[in-house]
């Protein structure tokens, strides 16, 4: 267990993994990785390329199934085999490149896979979607998070800028994630201004009481918002540090192995 964690270890982690192993042929992406997410925190996850960040996150979000190891939510063992199962547990993930379906509109994207049907005959027999409700709710969600000044909720997502698309994806996660939100490189493709908005959004999500896992290459972004930083190295968790006690340089040193993980 990481001694540097500011939270008292007596609090049950909301999401916890122990000894995760994931192999791809000869490559061992995860080599006994541990992970803990405390309630209400923003946990930054950083690591060099190939350190196993993505694999770790994919094992938590159901995009991949670990070969070994256990995952717990609120202290109880869970098995997450598909994104749908993760979602059923209240874990929502925003993927870096695969966040949205470009040809669908904003409301369709927000509700993809959990559409609202009209009540009564139209919905039950004709299986008609309640587009009105979906659009109204989508608009509400977007403006709730302060994202939306987009005029038309029915415009196709591909007509939005990168930041706006990311906003749609984050809004979807925030709207439906009841326990945990995972953001994979949410600022990687964005400019300075757009990144700032996304970081604001992340803090807003935490203020609403949801813990956030933020995977990022961008050290300043992680230091700006994270409460704790999980450093992944060589398929394992090297350590967890408090960004207020460490400098980015120290963290990078641990990440690359230049300094011991203490």
């Amino acid at each position: 267990m990481s001694a540097a964690a500011p939270q008292a270890p007596t609090v049950t982690p909301i999401l916890e993994a122990k000894g995760l192993v994931k192999r791809f042929g000869n490559v061992t992406a995860l080599d006994g990785a541990d992970f803990e997410l405390m309630p209400g925190e923003i946990l930054g996850v950083i690591g060099d390329n190939g350190a196993g960040k993505s694999s770790l996150i994919k094992c938590l979000s159901g995009a991949q199934v670990p070969d070994e190891g256990t995952v717990r939510m609120n202290g109880e063992d869970v098995v997450i085999r598909t994104p749908l199962e993760a979602r059923a547990l209240g874990i929502e993930t925003v993927y870096q490149t695969l966040a949205v379906s470009p040809a669908l509109d904003i409301a369709d994207n927000l509700y993809l896979g959990r559409e609202i049907r009209k009540p009564g005959f139209q919905g039950k027999v004709l299986r008609r979607l309640d587009k009105k409700a979906m659009r109204a709710e989508a608009k509400h969600q977007m403006s709730d998070l302060g994202i939306m000044t987009i005029q038309k909720i029915e415009q196709q997502v591909e007509s939005l800028s990168g930041g706006q698309r990311q906003g749609v994806a984050v809004a979807r996660a925030a709207a439906f994630g009841s326990k945990v939100i995972i953001l994979d490189e949410p600022t990687a493709a964005l400019g300075v201004k757009e990144s700032g908005k996304v970081l604001d959004l992340i803090q807003k999500v935490r203020q609403n009481g949801l813990p956030v896992i933020l995977i990022s290459h961008n050290m300043p972004h992680v230091f700006e918002v994270a409460d704790r930083i999980h450093i992944q190295r060589l398929g394992r968790r090297a350590t967890v540090v408090d960004p207020k006690e460490r400098t980015p340089n120290e963290v990078v040193a641990i990440m690359t192995g230049a300094a011991p993980a203490t």
Partner: protein, 351 residues
């Protein structure tokens, strides 16, 4: 999130963002406005082409607008149009189905032979034929969605298998309409609207277009078809059960092909194992001319109706104008290329 400037008036899809790679002057030029409009309304192009063809042939030939000629065009289109619905569903998922024609003919032979040779009641023979088509589609679907083979290869294989089964079962013999139940020939019957005669097969086709258009637009399944075709992995991660969506699409397509088989029997008043040889490519042609993207996720089934009508009108009109058949093929080929070129251009979305 960018400045989220309101989208320029007109095309709702005019990029609202202010990303740096935006094409210069996009907001102003006429070309850009056309681009945006077409991007929003993919069927606008086909609709205009159809209108031009209708007006053109009305002016240049005096027989084109005659009620019985238009009725004939519709009857010529009803088989390919119905197949086109199946093909549209599959192309929307970024797939392609080379076996639609073979499924259609196999189903029609099964229906006809059961009725004519085995004495199965017409309705039952029809339903068994639908079952055969559905099963064929299911096989395609399993191979594409679960075994994860490319749709092109899967349907190339099943195309040959279905043709072989069809020739085996039919002994390569045509079944005459007079030998089979009237139920199977029903789609070729006509009723009068004024002095025009409309075939029930045409009504059936139009009904299916309406039904599938509704399913694609207004149900979750339809949204999932688009999302799967757009980006399968993104859809999967968003919680769409893409494997199940693909399986359902191929299965439904199989059933639609069988319905097309029923319409085919009505159209030619017999069931021939050699019928519908060009149906595969004709259905793809209708879909493509109708503005549906071969890359998946974009297009409307109503466009396919326009596409099928454009081809039908073009062939009919050129024939009436006394133009050699080879130039009809030339014109259709030209249209396909134009449609695909326009699709490529439309898809160049600013990101």
């Amino acid at each position: 999130m960018a400045e989220l400037t309101p989208a320029p008036a007109g095309g709702g899809s005019a990029a609202a963002g202010t990303t740096t790679v935006d094409a210069p002057g996009r907001s102003a030029g006429l070309g850009a406005r056309i681009h945006n409009t077409l991007h929003d309304k993919a069927t606008l192009g086909p609709a205009i082409v159809l209108l031009i063809a209708l007006v053109g042939f009305s002016v240049f030939t005096d027989r084109f607008l005659a009620a019985n000629n238009l009725s004939l065009v519709l009857q010529q289109v009803m088989v390919v149009g119905t197949l086109g619905i199946a093909q549209t569903l599959i192309i929307l998922t970024a797939g392609i189905d080379l076996s639609v024609g073979a499924i259609m003919v196999l189903s029609s032979i099964v229906m006809a032979k059961l009725s004519a040779d085995s004495g199965v009641p017409g309705v039952l023979a029809l339903l068994i034929g639908f079952g055969v088509g559905t099963l064929c589609g299911l096989i395609n679907g399993i191979l594409v969605s679960r075994v994860r083979l490319p749709p092109f290869i899967v349907t190339l294989g099943t195309l040959n298998i279905f043709i072989a089964l069809n020739l085996y079962y039919s002994q390569s013999e045509t079944i005459r309409g007079t030998d089979m139940s009237d139920v199977l020939l029903y789609t070729g019957n006509t009723f009068a609207i004024g002095d025009t005669r409309v075939a029930y097969g045409v009504l059936l086709m139009l009904g299916l277009f309406a039904l599938v258009a509704y399913a694609l637009r207004a149900t979750a399944w339809g949204r999932h078809v688009y999302a799967t075709g757009d980006d399968r992995e993104a859809a999967r991660l968003a919680g769409v059960q893409t494997t199940r969506v693909l399986l359902s699409v191929y299965t439904v397509a199989g059933l639609l092909c069988a319905v097309a088989g029923w319409i085919l029997i009505g159209r030619i008043a017999s069931a021939s194992p050699q019928a519908g040889g060009s149906a595969n490519l004709d259905s793809i042609t209708a879909v493509v001319i109708g503005g549906t993207s071969l890359f998946g996720g974009r297009g409307l089934v109503i466009g396919t109706l326009f596409g099928a009508l454009i081809v039908g009108v073009l062939r009919n009109g050129l024939a009436l104008a006394g133009v050699d058949v080879l130039w009809q093929d030339f014109a259709v080929g030209f249209l396909v290329l134009t449609a695909v070129a326009i699709d490529q251009w439309i898809r160049k979305v600013k990101t």
